[in-house]
């Protein structure tokens, strides 16, 4: 093979990696590395050391030791705080994944989070129920409210052909105003301007657990979130329901032909998506914070889209992706205090990740084309050589 041929025909190991059977892992990893590179450059431009910067995000999330700790806190407590943030992030991204698999974009996760957390707080969080009753009730109410909101969107889509992106966003604003109104009217803490905190019995946390001599708050949502991720993975891979949801997402017409009740599955998908968002809501507002700031939709409702896309729309992938995104968002305060960069850069880094993961399909396409072309040119060269050889023997016979 000449050098020229190598240049045209050679698809390197890199393209093969992105195109091959590990592409579902290789492509997202590549996207993450690219976005870290761009974010690093951004930090350099701002005059900061990117390695110190990234390390400080880890420190802020309790994944690396800080230089010094304030009274009563340590890496353990930071880590559990991080898990408290991770839980709703993972749940919310699972919510997006479920819709996404069924071909639906649930952009309304932030609204569903607020509404279900508000309902749970008002109904249970302000009552005197004991922990054994109130904690499960918070979870159930969160899931049910979220599911109802999701199902409503699914119904509008199926029955009236209302695009779910537009309807979920409208509902986000409506819920934001309604919840804001009720908090401001009836449940406001005059000093902080946010809602009255829910009771410690209802909060999805176990307070004051001594670990290594430091008092930690253990978030309960994380166990639920990880378990649900594995459950959903099983659901999509192994069950009839999962298969049908995927089928509806890929091609509703073919799904109907296959005998699937498309409308029912669409509504179920949105209900499940909403239920997960609702769980994310209670895990966030009753398991990380204990209050709701009125008229502010949680950023997490949008960050979870980045998580889901980074995780390739896969529940297990979401676990890794949500850890990554949570490190940035949760560690941003500490990073800001050590580096002196505005903490909003965390959202920007997540945004950049989102951007590159949206390009993931294109990277795969490029790699695929390169590999394909390399193979084509091999085939063509072979055909040419054969044709030439035939011509030679043909003439020889003459």
């Amino acid at each position: 093979m000449t050098d020229a041929e190598k240049k045209i025909g050679g698809a390197g190991w890199f393209q093969r990696l992105l195109d091959g059977r590990w592409s579902h892992i290789a492509v997202p990893v590549f996207c993450v590395l690219l976005s870290l590179l761009v974010s690093g450059v951004l930090l350099v431009v701002l005059g900061k050391d990117p390695f110190v910067g990234f390390y400080s995000f880890l420190q802020g999330s309790g994944l690396a030791p800080k230089g010094s700790y304030g009274g009563g806190s340590g890496i353990q407590s930071d880590f559990f705080t991080f898990l408290g943030y991770l839980a709703p992030m993972l749940l919310a991204s699972l919510g997006f994944v479920v819709g996404f698999r069924a071909g639906l974009f649930n952009i309304g996760i932030s609204g569903q989070m607020v509404a279900s957390a508000f309902t749970a707080t008002v109904l249970v969080g302000y009552s005197d129920l004991p922990a054994v009753l109130s904690k499960p009730l918070v979870i159930i109410i969160g899931a049910v409210v979220g599911a109802l909101l999701g199902a409503f969107v699914g119904f509008l889509k199926y029955r009236f052909n209302v695009h779910e992106v537009v309807s979920t966003i409208m509902i986000n604003y409506i819920l934001n105003y309604i919840v804001g109104f009720f908090i401001n009217m009836y449940f406001v803490n005059g000093l902080t301007r946010s809602s009255l905190p829910c009771s410690t019995d209802a909060a999805l946390m176990i307070y004051n657990v001594q670990i290594g001599g430091i008092s930690c708050t253990i978030p309960l949502g994380i166990f639920l979130a990880v378990a649900l991720a594995f459950f959903l993975d099983w659901l999509f891979k192994r069950t009839v329901v999962g298969f049908e949801l995927k089928a509806v997402g890929q091609n509703p017409k073919a799904a109907k032909y296959a005998g699937i009740n498309v409308g029912k599955r669409l509504i179920q998908a949105m209900a499940l998506s909403g239920a997960l968002a609702g769980l994310a809501g209670v895990a966030y507002y009753c398991g990380y914070y204990t209050t709701i700031v009125p008229k502010t939709l949680p950023q997490m409702g949008y960050d979870c889209i980045a998580v889901a896309l980074l995780g390739n729309g896969n529940p297990i992938g979401s676990i890794f992706a949500s850890i990554l995104v949570s490190v940035f968002q949760n560690g941003s305060n500490f990073m800001s205090s050590t580096l002196g960069v505005q903490k909003e850069i965390a959202s920007l880094i997540v945004g950049i990740m989102l951007l590159f993961s949206a390009c993931g399909g294109y990277f795969r396409f490029l790699a695929h084309r390169k590999v394909q072309r390399a193979e084509d040119s091999k085939i063509k060269a072979k055909a040419k050589a054969e044709a030439a050889a035939e011509g030679m023997t043909g003439e020889g016979e003459k």
Binding site: R238, V240, F243, K253, A254, Y257, G259, N261
Partner: protein, 512 residues
């Protein structure tokens, strides 16, 4: 004389991954003749003309136009050199007028208020009217293209080329979508264009059309040029043999039918589309065990909707559908499948399979939810694979990685084989075949025809919907002709000639 030839393609070779579409083809076309290009699907006719039209670049070979070598990088270059092509799928904008469609890209301009450049739509209408009169292609420039019939749209496409001063006109399978009457009109138009000095290249696989209109004819078979013939002095059988590359069996052998009990009964069925237009009107038919009921008709006369409604994909507006005496008019698709309805839809890739799912899951699409393929809602992938492997072997479905092949990467013919295999394997009471052989080559067509007849002989009721009159005549025990959503005539196949059926297809009502 060399310069007699307006087109001279020399030693054209074009390869695609895995196949040689054109293998050293040399073709010369004279100015002012109708030159036909005959061959089966996949023989390389369209590729060759795409090379001439600049859509593909040849791997080897040269093209001379009016004696000078040309290299086209895109079809725009070919258009500039005076070549025009009427594609099989019309490239028209539905919500534009006829004139807008024709002039788009080279619009007449004027200045609004003296300085703002603006499309002069009045001038466009006038020019279109002029050309349409010059060539006898009647159209109304201000009609919306979306409202036009197929044959009129085709005229718009032809006018588009003439407006751009094309001298060489390539027609890609122009008659596939037309009624027999409309075909006659089109052939007249082609003769008229030739008489005005245009050079016509006609891509087709229908020999009788070549007989009617072409001067010379080139035959392609598996990418190679077989022969160039003078049409007037060559027999149809000879052309057919050359086209297929072997002796052709022009008839399908089929035993006498033995009708049993009534399986399907459609009673006064009316179907509306999304715009509340009645696309199927008051259709009644009945099909028995061991009967092939063929619905003949030109595309877009309600056949697709009729099949969809029987299969449960669309709702009936009025009337009933009965299967083995049971009213299934408002049953779900799944229940109909359970009751014994199998359906090979026209839209294979959009409806018949999931393109992004593996072949084995597509093959199991009718049974994945039942034991043994799933238990308690949990799928058993091993059982599904086993079932698929069996079908792949028995029905000779070819794919890269067997059952795990993503369906998108398979050829259209093998996707169709997979659908047919899956539906036949249902051992259904009623099989609905819609255009089962569209886009397939003759060998595969024979095979599918044999399978349809085997199903009939097994005792199933078969509803065959086809646009090919030949196919209807070959297979049908009973023929129903559909026109404008109405079943105009239903009669035993033995009592009807193809001329009669063709007349009904144009909407000519019964005299008696």
């Amino acid at each position: 004389m060399q310069d007699d030839y307006i087109i001279d393609m020399r030693h054209i070779t074009k390869r695609f991954p895995g196949i040689v579409a054109n293998d050293d083809v040399t073709l010369r076309v004279k100015k002012g003749e109708v030159f036909a290009l005959l061959g089966e699907n996949g023989a390389g006719k369209s590729t060759l003309m795409s090379v001439l039209f600049g859509m593909y670049q040849p791997d080897a070979g040269k093209i001379y136009l009016r004696g000078e070598e040309v290299k086209f990088d895109s079809s725009d270059d070919a258009v500039a050199a005076g070549i025009g092509m009427v594609h099989q799928h019309f490239k028209l904008v539905d919500n534009f007028t006829v004139a807008e469609n024709i002039v788009m890209g080279v619009e007449p301009k004027k200045r609004l208020a003296g300085f703002l450049p603006c499309v002069d739509i009045k001038e466009a209408n006038k020019r279109v009217k002029d050309i349409s009169e010059q060539y006898g292609l009647a159209v109304n420039p201000t009609d919306m293209v979306g409202d036009l019939a197929v044959s009129q749209r085709q005229r718009v496409e032809i006018l588009k080329m003439l407006y751009r001063n094309a001298e060489i006109l390539i027609f890609d399978e122009p008659t596939a979508v037309l009624t027999p009457k409309e075909i006659e009109f089109l052939l007249d138009i082609i003769r008229g264009l030739r008489d005005q000095g245009k050079t016509i290249i006609l891509i087709t696989h229908k020999i009788e059309e070549i007989k009617k209109v072409a001067d010379r004819c080139a035959i392609l078979c598996r990418g190679k040029l077989v022969d160039v013939l003078d049409v007037a002095s060559t027999s149809v059988q000879h052309m057919a043999n050359l086209m297929v590359g072997r002796e052709v069996k022009l008839e399908t052998t089929k035993g006498e039918p033995h009708f049993g009990k009534e399986v399907l009964k459609v009673d006064h069925l009316t179907v509306r589309n999304a715009d509340k237009f009645e696309v199927v009107q008051d259709v009644s038919l009945s099909i028995h065990e061991g009967e092939i009921f063929a619905v003949a008709g030109v595309a877009g006369n309600g056949q697709g909707e009729l099949a969809n409604t029987i299969a449960g994909m669309q709702d009936a507006y009025k009337g009933t559908v009965t299967l083995d005496g049971k009213d299934i008019t408002s049953e779900t698709v799944r229940n109909r499948v359970e009751d014994g309805v199998a359906y090979i839809p026209e839209d294979r890739q959009g409806m018949g399979v999931f393109m992004n799912l593996p072949l084995d899951e597509n093959l199991a699409l009718r049974r994945y939810y039942k034991e043994p393929f799933s238990k308690g809602g949990v799928l058993d992938h091993a059982k599904i694979r086993e079932f698929a492997d069996d079908l792949i072997e028995r029905y000779d479905i070819r794919s890269g990685q067997g059952g795990r092949t993503i369906t998108r990467s398979m050829s259209g013919g093998n996707q169709q084989k997979a659908i047919v295999a899956r539906e036949i394997e249902q051992h259904a009471r009623l099989l609905i075949f819609v255009q089962p052989t569209r886009g397939m080559d003759m060998g595969a067509i024979e095979h599918i025809h044999d399978q349809i007849i085997a199903e009939r002989d097994r005792g199933a009721a078969v509803l065959l919907i086809s646009l090919e009159l030949d196919e209807v005549m070959q297979l049908a025990d009973t023929i129903g002709v559909i026109y404008n959503g109405k079943l105009l005539k239903t009669a035993p196949a033995s009592t009807m000639t193809s001329q009669e059926v063709g007349r009904y297809m144009m909407g000519v009502a019964d005299n008696d």
